[in-house]
Every structure is written in structure tokens, then in C-alpha cells.
């Protein structure tokens, strides 16, 4: 959907909705350890925010992520997950054993930090994959 559609009402309403969707996505990501939610859901919410702004404002959207950037971001997200696992290996633990980082923190805090790391990876991957598919579906001309 490369050109904008809708009227003033649609544009204005979505402009109010999108920041809250993004904020809720970040909340679901950060609070996902102790409440329902987590990386997959947060990724879907953030992707919906970008897709909505793309639908309303067209190609020159404020929160736009191009398809190629989205693919790179998805790769980075997947890499981040594996990287946390390799990092824990380097610190002397098992693969994805979170509680052994060398910083002076409580074990539960280290653990939460590790889980936050992998959740950010999952979020990036899901968000970027949805955006990349949307971009490929709505692409007009070949590259």
C-alpha cells in the first residue's frame, strides 16, 4: 500500500492509536517475564504499529521500516538469541544458562537480564518478519 488512503478522520484516529500500540508492545516485552506476554506477542504488537502507520501514511510513514531493513533486523534478532546462549557458554555455564554473568547482581536479576536479552531477540525477529512479509505483499515494482 504505497499511497495513503482514508480521510482526515482515519488519519487522525490512527495517529492517536499508533503510539499507544507501540507503548503497549514495549510494555508486553519488558513485563513479559512476570505476566502474560513475551517476545512473540510484543513483536506482533510492534509490527502492527508499523504496518498501521504504513497503511495510513503510505510510503513516507514516520515509523517506516523498509523491507530490506526488516530482513536484516530479523536476522539480527535471531542472532541475538543465539548470541546470549554463546555468551553464557563463554562465561563458563551451559548454553542459555542465564544466572552466571560476571556482574555483581542477584542471581534472579542476572536471570531476568538474560531472559530480557532473548525476548528482545524474539521480538526483533517476529516484528521484522511481519513487516518484511507486509512489504513484500504490498511492493509494487520489482527491485
Amino acid at each position: 500500500m504505497n499511497e495513503r488512503f482514508g480521510t482526515v478522520v482515519l488519519d487522525t484516529a490512527f495517529r492517536f492509536v499508533i503510539p499507544f500500540v507501540m507503548l503497549y508492545g514495549v510494555y508486553v516485552l519488558i513485563n513479559g517475564e512476570s505476566s502474560p506476554g513475551g517476545g512473540f506477542q510484543a513483536g506482533a504488537l510492534l509490527a502492527i504499529a508499523v504496518v498501521l502507520s504504513r497503511l495510513v501514511q503510505g510510503e513516507k510513514a514516520v515509523f517506516n521500516i523498509s523491507g530490506n531493513t526488516a530482513l536484516i533486523l530479523a536476522g539480527i534478532g535471531t542472532f541475538l538469541y543465539g548470541f546470549v546462549g554463546v555468551l553464557t557458554l563463554c562465561w563458563g555455564g551451559n548454553f542459555l544458562e542465564y544466572g552466571i554473568s560476571p556482574w555483581a547482581m542477584l542471581a534472579a536479576e542476572k536471570h531476568a537480564l538474560g531472559i530480557l536479552g532473548i525476548e528482545i531477540g524474539v521480538t526483533l525477529c517476529v516484528m521484522a518478519t511481519i513487516i518484511a512479509i507486509f512489504d513484500a505483499l504490498t511492493r509494487k515494482e520489482e527491485v
Binding site: S34, L96, A132
Partner: protein, 109 residues
């Protein structure tokens, strides 16, 4: 052709029979004595907070006990998205090329 159809029907009936037999042998829903509820679920419920330190044992299962599983899920999503994007771009590119070809042919005509 007819033999092929009869063979396909036979295989379908066989699979339906297997499904009915195995559906009869499934445990009751919410049965606390079923195999799925007695294997590791008790350990997760009892020890997840002490073993992993996370306040929510869904997170403990997702990110800790089944961390490899979640890594695999993420990789599957990434790979599926990549394949979808590649297929869509290739098909759209070839479609527009075909349109271009026909336009060129029309110009020649």
C-alpha cells in the same frame, strides 16, 4: 487412474481408522493421572521458582527448561519469513517481467 483413486481411498480409510483408534485411547481432558500431567509438569510447578528465579513459571518453561525449543521457534519464524519474502519478490518480479514482455510484443506487432 481408477486404480489410483481406489488406492487413495483405501489409504484414506486406513488413516481414518488409525485416527479413530488413537482418539479412543487418548486420556481424558484435565485428567491429573494422564501421562502428560505426571511426567515433568509436577516438577515445573513445584520447583520452577526456586530453580529459575522467575516469578512466572510459564516464562520459566518457555525461556529456561525449553530454551532450545524457543530458539528453534525463532529460527523457524525467521526462515519462513525469509522464504516467503523471497517467493513473493521472485513471483512479482517475473510477473512484471512477463507483462513487460507482452507489452514489448504488442509494440512489435
Amino acid at each position: 487412474m481408477k486404480a489410483l483413486r481406489m488406492g487413495a481411498l483405501f489409504v484414506l480409510l486406513l488413516m481414518a481408522e488409525v485416527m479413530f483408534i488413537s482418539a479412543g485411547a487418548l486420556p481424558q481432558l484435565y485428567d491429573p493421572q494422564s501421562a502428560a500431567a505426571t511426567h515433568v509438569a509436577d516438577r515445573y510447578i513445584a520447583d520452577a521458582v526456586e530453580e529459575t528465579g522467575s516469578p512466572n513459571f510459564v516464562t520459566a518453561v518457555l525461556a529456561d527448561y525449553r530454551g532450545y525449543d524457543t530458539l528453534g521457534e525463532t529460527t523457524v519464524i525467521f526462515t519462513a519469513g525469509l522464504a516467503t519474502v523471497l517467493l513473493l519478490r521472485v513471483s512479482k518480479g517475473s510477473a512484471s517481467k512477463r507483462e513487460g514482455d507482452s507489452a514489448a510484443e504488442e509494440e512489435q506487432v
